[in-house]
Subunit: 496 residues, 2 copies
């Protein structure tokens, strides 16, 4: 739901030559982001029906196109850019054009997305129509970080599937793809500086070259979506040792990564260096969750090192995380870490650390009180792999719960829904993400006072959005019941 | 599995300018079927990775393109056209071209499909490669009717979803889309001669215009897929009465269609007339299954009519089906009917009737012995909505079971897997169809003596095909377990 919406009761038909204009725009569109966004708009609104242009329509009833004015010349996509837009669809008499004005091209993309959801096929006239004109929409997101996590370690996701997910994110105005690339089970990404790392992939074909990773970043950028790369250390990293067994404490004790070995950090440096050539988001995610340090104490060589350093296991964990943080910072990144790092040694973290809350509610308030920034993904509400988490829970999960001081509120960058991959491959990723992610997407975009107090108030709108996703070829599941449920009986999309 | 396959141990890289040639071909390709098929080939083999063309490769190691010779000038798509092809990929020295020869352009499309499955991305060279050259493949389907039923009455399927299903059918060389368009719950198709019929749709937007239906036929034709339209009468037709209540026996007894009313048959004639403008397959399906005739006896007006005609309920059912058949024949169609019509009054059916077996096994043999043609879809093995039917059952279901006389074997046109829609909408159609439909697709394509005796022998190949589908953006489910199951644990695609 946009920040402010006014509409009327007239209609306009989209003309046969519906086109993009950029009179008065400062943005040169050298990389074609706007042009491609407009082409996607046309594709999406014409995909479901066959438009007929036989009958002559008076020019005053036609919408000729959209004039898009972008104020910034830059196409830099980064955290906290201006994503606001104005969208006007007014009938002025002759040559009617919708008007978009945005600070950046990415605000303009959001405007085109909103426009696409105002068009529908009219079965009487067989034409595309925008009803309820005149529209006056002013809009901007509440939070600058509105994310979706995908996990390509537990199951490989082929490139076309990742692109489909990115496309669908844009429909709900999500703007960060948190790519949890590697984990215990598999290491699918090419790392040029340490080329044996991807020997830890499930198979030779279930891998991503650096060129493919760059392609994903580029594809996402064209849709206004940042890619946050995660390199989870020191836990969740067993797969690294397939190519470099020296990273394991021992053959029988394969995690966490060997804290006593300088090679471990040399390798992390190589990975982050390779990342920095492709992943241009200002943040990198270094994980740090669920670290079982027992292999460090039980492996003689590491036990000895701990004693020499005067570390207990916990201090060694802290040492590891902080050292990895420094490496990331040296490559120009600001670091995000899962919340255990904050819970264990919050005051020691790099002061620019963003804490990624996942264990439960009530954490963001502690993080911001400690002066650190926070991203919210509490698993009781925003873990998509928890099929019993309902869309209502997704909708009502409020990142600023118990945070009332505006200065502290600013430290909550936003939130993210997480599509962990233990039971997710190409066959079921879309219907597990949607429609529940859309409920969270509104929580993250829409101004707080415009959100529904009771989720039932938005049910019809969410149901319509789910049907719109299906119409766009996105396999969004019915609202009824748990995540990824099949329709329980025959019926209209609009009641399921 | 093709009819005959020979291969070697060499490899060729696909050149940067990999292209289509048609030297020696008789086929003009006015409608671009071949050209589009080649474009789709390129799209599909390049979608998963980023190909690198930096390094110079000796011309003798390059495959420059494919030369496609089509012997027939016609692009007519019909039942029983020649779908055979020869595919040669030999390394001759310089200017290497793969060679395709086919009787029709549709055989050539099958050859391109086979070729697409011989290409893979080589992670060392970062190029597309065809390995195990030289390939000499001679292929043709065992049965001419290899179908998939979709049901757009129990749930509306948006046009993009139907197109995705058609795309995926082509990957498994299925060639008939049996479109079960309308049924009890909803009537989503525009019928110009009786425009109130689609008032029976779930909602105004969950409908298909005639133009969309024509678009589906055209989209399918370009992929060598016929569209078999079904108009199920006299049962499964409650939705027809929303627009025309006179079709119902009464307001409280809404099926079957009123056999006593001439209007019923006038309407059926209108529908079939409109069908004949769009659906050009030589067959039309008139249903005739699961007819509960009690409303005919219990409605006074119809009861009276039955008595006047000297019909019991069963004879009235026969009368209805035969009358509808005659109407279809008058529009140039040959008729397919579900097997109850054969079981009830087989000797009375039009002699060109094709009986569609679904109730169980052992029926095809009876049908062909009665001199009628048959399509096999026995529900114990080939109903995709039966989630407990395993891929092994799909693979081993043999249409010619107990039919040994070659003359009678010819009467079995082929078979079809059925994706009934009670629990199927846009969110779960792909993963319920695949991979199990692929197991049946091989049963219908591959020469009987080349089929595996034990399904375990093809498990690896089916698993690879399932992963190929995922790589092409088709949400095919894991093989393990019942239909549409989620992956049970993290792992490689190739073992699930």
């Amino acid at each position: 739901m946009p920040e402010s919406v006014e509409y009327g009761n007239k209609s306009l038909f989209l003309s046969k030559e519906f086109h993009l204009k950029t009179d008065g725009s400062k943005y040169p569109d050298a990389s074609g982001i706007l042009k491609d966004g407009f082409t996607r708009l046309l594709d999406v609104i014409t995909a479901n029906n066959v438009i007929e242009f036989n009958s002559k329509v008076d020019e005053s009833l036609l919408l000729q196109g959209i004039n898009v004015v972008v104020l910034s010349e830059s196409d830099e996509l980064q955290y906290d850019i201006d994503e606001s837009y104005k969208l006007l669809i007014h009938a002025n008499g002759n040559q009617n054009y919708a008007e978009i004005e945005a600070a950046t091209v990415y605000g303009a993309l959001h405007a085109l997305q909103t426009f696409s959801q105002l068009c529908h096929f009219n079965f009487k006239s067989r034409k595309l129509v925008v009803s309820q004109i005149p529209w006056t929409i002013n809009d901007k997101p509440r939070f600058s970080y509105r994310g979706l996590l995908i996990d390509t370690s537990r199951h490989y996701q082929p490139l076309p599937m990742i692109k489909k997910v990115i496309d669908s994110m844009a429909y709900a105005k999500l703007n960060v793809l948190h790519w949890h690339i590697v984990d215990t089970q598999a290491f699918p990404l090419e790392i040029p500086s340490f080329p044996k790392l991807w020997d830890g992939a499930y198979s030779t074909s279930e891998r991503y070259t650096m060129a493919v990773a760059a392609d994903i970043v580029s594809y996402a950028k064209k849709r206004g979506i940042n890619v946050l790369a995660e390199l989870d250390v020191p836990g969740h990293a067993v797969s690294w040792g397939v190519g470099y067994p020296e990273l394991w404490p021992s053959k029988n004790c394969t995690e966490p990564l060997d804290v006593s070995n300088e090679f471990t950090f040399k390798l992390i440096n190589g990975v982050l260096s390779d990342f920095s050539k492709i992943f241009k988001y200002k943040f990198v995610h270094l994980g740090g969750d669920e670290v079982d340090t027992s292999c460090w104490s039980s492996t003689p060589r590491i036990k000895k090192w701990l004693e020499e350093q005067g570390f207990n296991e916990s201090q060694a964990y802290e040492y590891f995380v902080l050292k990895a943080q420094k490496i990331a910072v040296s490559h120009g990144y600001e670091v995000i870490n899962w919340e255990e790092t904050f819970n264990s040694f919050g005051s020691k973290l790099d002061r620019k650390t963003v804490v990624h809350n996942w264990l439960g509610s009530g954490v963001a308030e502690k993080v911001v009180e400690a002066g650190l920034r926070c991203i919210v993904s509490n698993q009781d509400s925003w873990y998509l792999d928890h099929l019993d988490a309902t869309w209502q829970q997704f909708y009502t999960n409020e990142p600023l719960t118990n945070i009332t001081d505006p200065k502290l509120q600013k430290l909550v960058l936003g939130g993210e829904v997480c599509m962990w991959g233990e039971h997710i491959d190409g066959s079921d990723i879309e219907q597990t993400i949607w429609p529940r992610a859309a409920a969270a997407a509104e929580r993250l975009w829409t101004r707080r006072d415009k959100l529904a107090k009771k989720p039932e108030e938005v049910m019809t709108r969410l149901m319509h959005f789910r049907c719109l996703l299906n119409q766009r070829g996105v396999a969004a599941a019915p609202l009824d019941g748990p995540g990824r449920v099949a329709p329980i009986e025959p019926g209209s999309c609009y009641v399921q």
